[in-house]
Symmetry: C3
Subunit: 351 residues, 3 copies
């Protein structure tokens, strides 16, 4: 259950730098590569000749060459040539709409005709020299909605990430959730608390004292299909918290692009964008390493939760106030999937 | 096919010493831990909040804390508290009857109301300073009844354990099987034979000559649901065999608790209890190591036998005299399972 | 979909030298061993006593002893003895027709009554001192017909084996395919080309210059059920190519026996027979190592192709001129399978 007419992050440019990449997105097996003039392309990973995966091939003169018998596939999904063959009658393979933007490759697994690049989520921090970004990728065996739940309810930090970003005060500060159109916002503010280890490191990284009380905030924003961007930060207490001037705080945006592979597995692109010391590459590396370790702590929990839910499909889960972010996000997803289904049905009825 | 209203060994105390243990018993996913006052508890391994496995959590003040969002579960299966929540309406999870006795944790996977601790199999050698015990645990992919067959027909020692406890004379001494109520006893006596390597080691461990003829015995006792306790030993020949005075023999009890995980996998708790040199820890370790190696020799055979049987479900196996112990044990198990089914049906009819 | 009334290569003698071998052929689990007088035998890998795999046992006095409880199985599939038992009433297990010839063990997985050893494919180079042979075995997760396709269309060498035997001129020389009875022959001749690395090594191995133009040939012969024998070679250009006198060429026969394990997995026996420098064991080893590396390059392609086809069972593949060898081979296999089915149906109707 995921919208297919939407932009998902498929991969990062480094993943297609050396050779084509085979990756399944929303149940579709795709091959990603750079075609003519270095433009990214995404096709069905299936050679029309004998069914070999095109991702085992290579790129030559902008064409994707099948590594089995040399069929040369064009970016449109039509065979351009093959040694010793006339290819005009070869069946086309599916071409997916794909865009490179903000340092990511985005793909639209559904109807390519509806794929408007303007719909790609705007990332104000990307391509902006005042900001630095570092991130990574995890492959996790769970429904993408379990990861959305995870990120829209940060009380889990107290338990899953107790030694880094968790602290008791998260539990004690009730979050507030609101829906604005297709966006869900859950926010939590903690006042006059001591920063946990990760944030003490960030304060020091920004030249601020790490042993004084701070105000801390978490503002989670879900937008379809499965992006969760979280404004997080701490400011020395009494300077206005989230609204404190830059010299009193360390803040950043946690970036989560969750791409369904199948109904029960995901490609999870995680990262952090910050607007302090953006030129400090060592700090970027330190933050990335710390975040990678922290986010790795969620994997076993999510996979084992998924297994439990598969064993008990009928069981109703609780929907507490802390779950409101996930619950509202799922409602939006259900509405979008239903609308897709109705479009598809209408198309069939009118045919 | 296994009785659920019965006491099975679930784990040993060391397995829950550091943190909760998730283990599936008779198809039920359970979490085992020490709750209030160190008393052992067993619950369904499913947090009523979002379905996370409780076994990934920790114990605090006798409560099992979910490692995802901090729900505090009581030993009764009712949520005791959760940060920022009223928990009165939370659905309960299943609680299993559980007892700690004789150095094992015992669980009753069926109807807890019928779980009488007095029904736990009495182990006369446990908690007895005249005896020493050492053992281990194997996870094996086979129906628990294949392991009962294995242990109730020790002719396999000649083939599977040729270099340790097997000897040709086992084959030549026909076993006798009898049924006494719910107990099946298969015994075999060999007179005036040379002891095989494992028993020569045991003779030496007890300060006896290992190069003279012995009388050897094996008395296997099956009791439901799946315990097989085997009196084994050798005595210098001519002193009465099984009935010989202690100074002429080395004897012990092979302990086998076979706990079904699924229909085709088991947790196999094996060990040996002996009443000679009980204070000799080095001897306990030597015996344990030898036995672990010997019992490990059965694993491949049992798992490959299981695969063969799954491929040929209709095929009738032979039931020879040497198989009588397993055959009679299965009859008792069938009767017990049928009785459980009838109780369940009666309950439904009367509802 | 494979003929069962046919001779397949099951294993090589070294695989049964130490102990019995369990191997599945055409869906049948078999045990191979040397029985009385060292004659090879093949039985169902299932002990009639308790279903243990006989391949875990050992051979004694020409009988296969079950490693679980010592049942002694004869080569006919009838139990010969068992300690302490009368075995006359024991059910027989299935015996497969098996022959040792040309350095291979051949098995007939179908009706043993039809298994005529004269039907074993004649290998003119085997048991011939003018020839040397080296080979190996790969276990691959694909339909055996994908491997036949692979070997009957060597254009893939240009792509899969670019660094060893591939060369652009293969693509440019259209193959010719013809059918002669149950044999399919695809041949390709390239004139006045430079030899690729593998063939330069072979030229040097035969004491010939490797830096002059050569004529190169590939003559692939499929015979049922799944043998592909390929005459390959190079001759210094202008001496007659395939027909050149021996002193001007290096040639050999690529040997491929493809034995279905299941519908989607195979045992692939590959090798090379050559009639130059047959006494040079170091050359045999060098060729074997090179060929093993080259043929290993096909594995990922075939397994990933298989996965793609399983995902898209309805999709029609192309049948180009280069595919004619595989297409014709499949037609023969379909005809043979249909004939087997009709025989089986007739047998049932007449019963």
């Amino acid at each position: 259950m995921f919208p297919k007419n939407a932009w998902y992050v498929a991969c990062t440019p480094d993943e297609i730098a050396e050779k084509p990449l085979g990756r399944q997105v929303c149940g579709e097996k795709m091959v990603f590569y750079r075609g003519a003039e270095g433009r990214v392309a995404a096709l069905e990973d299936f050679c029309p000749h004998r069914g070999a995966p095109l991702s085992l091939g290579f790129v030559e003169d902008g064409k994707l060459i099948c590594g089995y018998h040399g069929l040369a596939m064009g970016c449109s999904g039509h065979t351009e040539s093959m040694p010793g063959q006339r290819v005009r009658g070869f069946p086309a393979i599916r071409k997916f709409a794909v865009e490179e933007r903000y340092g990511f490759i985005w793909v639209w697994p559904g109807n390519a005709a509806e794929a408007d690049p303007a719909l790609i989520h705007h990332l104000e921090w990307a391509d902006n020299p005042d900001w630095a970004y570092g991130g990574g990728l995890y492959h996790i065996q769970c429904d993408y909605r379990l990861m959305i739940d995870n990120l829209m309810d940060l009380t889990h930090e107290t338990y899953v990430h107790a030694s880094s970003i968790g602290q008791k005060e998260i539990d004690e500060a009730a979050p507030k959730t609101r829906v604005e159109g297709d966006e869900v916002i859950t926010e939590r503010h903690m006042e006059n608390v001591m920063a946990p280890p990760f944030w003490r490191m960030a304060l020091r990284g920004n030249g601020l004292a790490d042993d004084v009380p701070v105000d801390r905030w978490q503002i989670c924003r879900f937008t379809p299909p499965s992006h969760v961007l979280i404004e997080v930060g701490v400011a020395h207490a009494g300077h206005g918290g989230y609204h404190a001037p830059a010299q009193h705080k360390a803040s950043s945006i946690v970036v989560d692009f969750i791409t369904p592979e199948t109904e029960t597995s995901i490609w999870y692109f995680w990262g952090m964008a910050r607007n302090f010391q953006p030129q400090d590459a060592a700090l970027t590396a330190t933050i990335r390493e710390g975040q990678g370790k922290i986010f790795g702590e969620d994997l076993e929990m999510l996979e084992r939760q998924q297994q439990n839910l598969l064993l008990h499909p009928q069981r109703q889960l609780l929907k507490l106030n802390i779950d409101a972010g996930g619950v509202q996000s799922r409602r939006i997803l259900e509405r979008l999937c239903e609308a897709e289904q109705q479009s598809a049905d209408a198309l069939i009825a009118s045919a």
